[in-house]
């Protein structure tokens, strides 16, 4: 039988993927060009798929331990914002394309390092989901890295937009590496590798690394920005208005 930390951790991983997926999904039919519209929504589909696998696992653990009756749908559609454990960065508004691709890069690069470790965290189901997801995340890292370079090392205007994106998002990266008590992977140990990867891409993109600054935290334990409630009200509207509705 799985313990509460395992359930919380599965929810944390699921929530981050779901909320970022929901955000990226707002680009559907609004992407800068058709191919990139399709790319970001493909990435979204992967994220939603990953969130489903983690929710299914969390639900199975909850049902088995008798803590609550749950399904992947009740976990996504019927929890309120204080019980969501996603990273704050995932819930931020999309901003412009620069901000969207930079957020994807920060997140995917972190997720890749995390999933590598999750394969060896001593939990078979985590390992299976990680091994499956990692193949998809590799594509997300490549795609988003290329966009950061393309815009950073592009025109004066695209460079400026990318710099603005860095300034807007950097304060949400610190949270990645501050462990909540339920985490099965030592996230603090991932920081150096993540910084190395980001530095390499920023150099190529002619972007400067931000100075150490105040970092926002709270998402992992349910203290969110004002944006999450609005996302959930849209995401959960149908199930709350018509409970149990099916396609």
């Amino acid at each position: 039988m799985q313990t509460q930390p395992t359930i919380d951790y599965a929810l944390h991983l699921a929530d981050s993927a779901l909320i970022l997926g929901q955000r990226n999904g707002e680009w559907c039919a609004h992407g800068p060009i058709l191919e990139q519209d399709i790319a970001i929504t493909n990435i979204t589909l992967d994220l939603i798929g990953q969130s489903r696998l983690f929710y299914q696992y969390a639900a199975a653990c909850m049902n088995e331990s008798g803590t609550a009756e749950a399904t992947e749908d009740t976990l996504a559609y019927l929890r309120t914002e204080r019980s969501f454990k996603n990273l704050l960065m995932c819930e931020l508004p999309n901003g412009d394309w620069a901000q969207t691709v930079l957020r994807q890069f920060f997140f995917s690069q972190f997720q890749l390092l995390l999933l590598e470790q999750l394969q060896h965290a001593g939990n078979e189901q985590y390992a299976a989901i990680a091994a499956k997801s990692i193949k998809e995340t590799q594509y997300h890292v490549k795609w988003s890295s290329e966009w950061v370079i393309r815009l950073g090392d592009g025109t004066a205007e695209s460079h400026e937009k990318m710099e603005n994106a860095v300034n807007a998002l950097w304060m949400y990266t610190g949270e990645f590496f501050i462990a909540a008590d339920y985490e099965a992977v030592d996230v603090a140990a991932l920081k150096n590798k993540w910084m190395e990867a980001v530095t390499a891409i920023f150099e190529e993109a002619t972007l400067s690394m931000p100075e150490n600054t105040f970092m926002q935290t709270g998402g992992k334990t349910g203290t969110h920005t004002e944006h999450l409630g609005y996302i959930l009200s849209e995401l959960q509207y149908l199930q709350r208005t018509y409970p149990g509705a099916e396609w």
């Binding site: 191919e35 399709i38 493909n42 499956k132």
Partner: protein, 165 residues
């Protein structure tokens, strides 16, 4: 019909991928095992991509097809490990893809180097129409998660490439 593995594999060879209907689920390599007990038949399948919307449809299609042959107690089980790879796609499946106008995966997954170099693309993907290998990647993400979009530099035809995964 007798409930034995051979017969059941025969039935499953009639279930097609809803997105790429020339491929059967056996061609795709997503059927991972069959278990026959006194009470029911358990069919194990593995998802191609985590978010592939075809998986739910495939599970329903399997049950419907089994029902046509009189098997009512069928459970379709999702298994995640080992993770699906295009290496499991049959040679016959790859040929069917090509005939359908989709370039099949060209490498083995262990030769794939996604992160080797940025802006590097898989080269020499053969155009399914004119067989030229002078082709260019348009987008790493195509009409479905499993495909990339290429264009032939010779006949100019844009085409889907089933990504090595």
């Amino acid at each position: 019909m007798e409930a034995n593995k051979e017969n059941i594999y025969g039935i499953l060879s009639e279930v097609c991928d809803p997105e790429v209907p020339v491929l059967t689920i056996l061609d795709l390599g997503i059927v991972r095992g069959i278990e026959i007990t006194e009470e029911k038949i358990i069919i194990q399948i593995t998802p191609t991509y985590s978010g592939c919307p075809a998986m739910d449809t495939i599970a329903v299609d399997i049950k419907m097809k089994m029902l046509e042959y009189g098997f009512t107690e069928v459970q379709v089980m999702n298994v995640l490990s080992p993770a699906w790879t295009t290496d499991w796609m049959s040679v016959e499946g790859k040929n069917k893809l090509k005939a359908y106008g989709i370039a099949p995966p060209q490498q083995r997954s262990n030769e794939k180097r996604i992160n080797a170099l940025l802006f590097e693309e898989e080269k020499n993907i053969e155009c399914p129409r004119c067989h030229s290998t002078h082709t260019t990647l348009l987008s790493q993400f195509g009409s479905t998660a499993c495909k990339a979009l290429y264009q032939c530099d010779d006949c100019k035809e844009p085409f889907d490439y089933f990504k090595c995964h």
